[in-house]
């Protein structure tokens, strides 16, 4: 495993590999996401209980799903970076965290907006919303710690330790919040717990889940490439890449 990984640990190779993926990933992400959203907004039938308000599900559920898995990916990257001393994994952490944070933010906000017409309040201390809020704080902590260091290599290492501590805590936090919620018998909220969906709603939901997954991938690839350039800024190969960039930009402005 390790031997196989080794050639990919070279920043230049990874940069160009990701560069080949990036356009395809971006295009398929945009197409799939567009299809899922349009299908969900325009063609899927209205819900017999919630009417058209349920259409928020097409962003809420995918972002909520990926917000959690991205945090786990973050911790795995940190773990790999620590155990195998793979600096590329440390940089991956810096690429994943902003995407995860944004997804968590979206799921939180859409959840609250959905709650207003359904429960009559913008914020309910429901178990899921609460643990999502805590996940948001965990992301903020990782990113804040990363940016607090002037030396990014140390920042990535420190943020990685925090991410690993956080990922151990996540199940405990989830369990505690659920327990707390039943103890205080908040509103029994069923908006997120739906009976099996009709196929006509389920298919566009699956499409937009796929779309958001691809979007997360494309965004992470974009940020990862930036991160590689930033860390290797004084290496000859980066000089070459950036010089080429400038040349194409200049020719573009000349044409215009």
């Amino acid at each position: 495993m390790w031997r196989w990984l080794h050639p990919y640990a070279k920043p230049e190779v990874v940069y160009h590999l990701l560069g080949r993926w990036q356009p395809w990933l971006s295009i398929t992400a945009a197409l799939t996401l567009g299809l899922g959203i349009v299908w969900g907004l325009v063609f899927a039938p209205a819900d017999y209980q919630q009417g058209d308000s349920y259409r928020i599900i097409f962003v809420h559920v995918p972002t909520a799903m990926f917000s959690m898995s991205l945090y786990i990916a973050l911790a795995i990257a940190a773990f790999v970076g620590r155990v195998w001393q793979l600096k590329m994994a440390d940089w991956g952490l810096a690429a994943i965290a902003p995407v995860g944070l944004t997804f968590t933010f979206i799921s939180l906000v859409t959840g609250a907006i959905w709650g207003k017409p359904m429960w009559g309040t913008w914020w309910e201390w429901d178990a899921r919303l609460t643990s999502q809020l805590i996940l948001f704080f965990l992301y903020v902590g990782v990113l804040a710690l990363y940016h607090a260091f002037s030396d990014q290599r140390n920042g990535a290492k420190a943020a990685g330790i925090l991410a690993m501590v956080g990922v151990i805590n996540i199940p405990i936090i989830r369990y505690s919040v659920e327990w707390w919620n039943t103890l205080h018998q908040g509103a029994t909220l069923t908006v997120f717990e739906r009976p099996p969906m009709a196929t006509s709603m389920l298919i566009p939901l699956l499409v937009s889940i796929l779309g958001f997954g691809l979007l997360a991938g494309a965004l992470i690839v974009q940020r990862m490439r930036n991160e590689i350039l930033r860390q290797e800024l004084r290496r000859p190969w980066v000089k070459h890449v950036l010089n080429q960039d400038r040349a194409t930009e200049l020719s573009k402005t000349e044409q215009a």
Partner: protein, 66 residues
Amino acid sequence: MVFDNLQAFIAMGGYGFYVWLAFGISFAAIAVLVISGLTARRKLQREFVKEQRRQERLAQRKREVS
């Protein structure tokens, strides 16, 4: 197409405000993410130019000294 006309589509059966707010904020958040990625690259470019100038200065100083 489950909506009869554009107005019905925008109204979303009375939930228009919530649905469009949710989608709008989501779109804006993702747009911020995409744009920040693009500007980060632009910024790297500028930093790189600065670094090159710095190295040119260093090289020049060396030539003058020797």
